[in-house]
């Protein structure tokens, strides 16, 4: 299992600590929505909602995309998932290298042993 780096988890948890932001996630779970729509839905100013969405975005929980004049928000765990996938690929690359390295270590170990025995 790939471990997520702690700072990312901290950001995610602090983003989730606010009831409005949890509400926004729930809402986005039903459908993508614009910031204007979310602001109305949660009876907030546009600026206030922008801040909340910013925090969720920072935490990798939401991604936004501006199309024309409308910024659309959607649930977006993709950043973290992609990163976890990449790190797993990276780990496999090293694991494969290290399996070959194991053989060399084994071989040199044997050589050293034989050498050591001759000396004694």
């Amino acid at each position: 299992m790939v471990q997520y780096r702690e700072p990312a988890l901290d950001t995610a948890f602090s983003a989730l600590s606010d009831p409005i932001r949890r509400g926004v996630l729930e809402q986005l779970g039903r459908a993508d929505a614009s910031i204007t729509y979310l602001a109305e839905k949660f009876r907030m100013t546009l600026t206030g909602m922008k801040k909340h969405v910013g925090v969720l975005e920072q935490a990798g929980l939401v991604s936004t995309e501006k199309i024309g004049r409308v910024r659309t928000c959607r649930l977006g765990l993709r950043g973290l998932e992609k990163e976890a996938e990449w790190i797993e690929g990276y780990r496999k690359l090293w694991a494969e290298r290290f399996d070959d390295l194991d053989k060399i270590v084994e071989e040199l170990n044997q050589k050293e042993k034989t050498h050591g025995q001759k000396k004694r």
Partner: protein, 180 residues
């Protein structure tokens, strides 16, 4: 007679871990059943490096492998692949060489400053813990590396790399610096 003579039998295969330790750092760890000096040799002597650095499944072969292992010395690995017109080189400089415990080098393929790799070899009771630590110049550099590389990791199959340059770039810890 040692029963572990056959290298195919590998009952005590140790696990490899990889983690993004911070915004700018990747860390890989693995324990080997041998002394630090042997590991250090395998990381520094070309004739040994050539035998493990490039995973076989990549289908890439070494054209040359030069290592001037001393502080300030340089290294240069050149590879070829059947589908590549030009060979590719990985180059850099050793910032610190402390046999047999520590090796630090730069990854200088790209135009921008690359990552710095630190490898430590910690021997304990005949086993050696190897820690590979990559420090990127910025969070952005590592994020970019992950973003550019993620499409090419296809889960288990490294053979499925379809773009050779992506393949080769991802072999270096310093994956972020794609040639401009």
């Amino acid at each position: 007679m040692d029963k572990r003579k056959d290298s195919d039998a590998n009952p005590t295969k140790n696990s490899t871990t990889a983690e993004r330790k911070s915004d700018r750092e990747l860390v890989v760890t693995r324990t080997f059943n041998g002394p630090a000096q042997i590991l250090f040799d395998a990381w520094t002597k070309p004739e040994l490096l050539k035998r493990w650095w490039m995973p076989k499944s990549f289908g890439v072969s070494f054209l040359s492998c030069e290592t001037d292992v001393r502080t300030g010395g340089t290294y240069r690995f050149v590879f070829s692949h059947p589908s590549a017109a030009e060979p590719m080189a990985f180059v850099g400089r050793y910032l610190e060489v402390t046999a047999p415990t520590r090796l630090v080098w730069t990854n200088d393929e790209g135009e921008e400053p690359g990552s710095v790799t630190t490898v430590t070899f910690e021997e304990r009771a005949g086993e050696t813990l190897v820690v590979v630590h990559d420090l990127y110049p910025s969070k952005q550099a590592l994020d970019d590396a992950i973003a550019s590389g993620s499409a090419s990791w296809s889960g288990d199959q490294f053979e499925q790399f379809d773009q050779l340059d992506q393949l080769l770039v991802s072999l270096e810890p310093n994956v972020g610096k794609r040639p401009a």
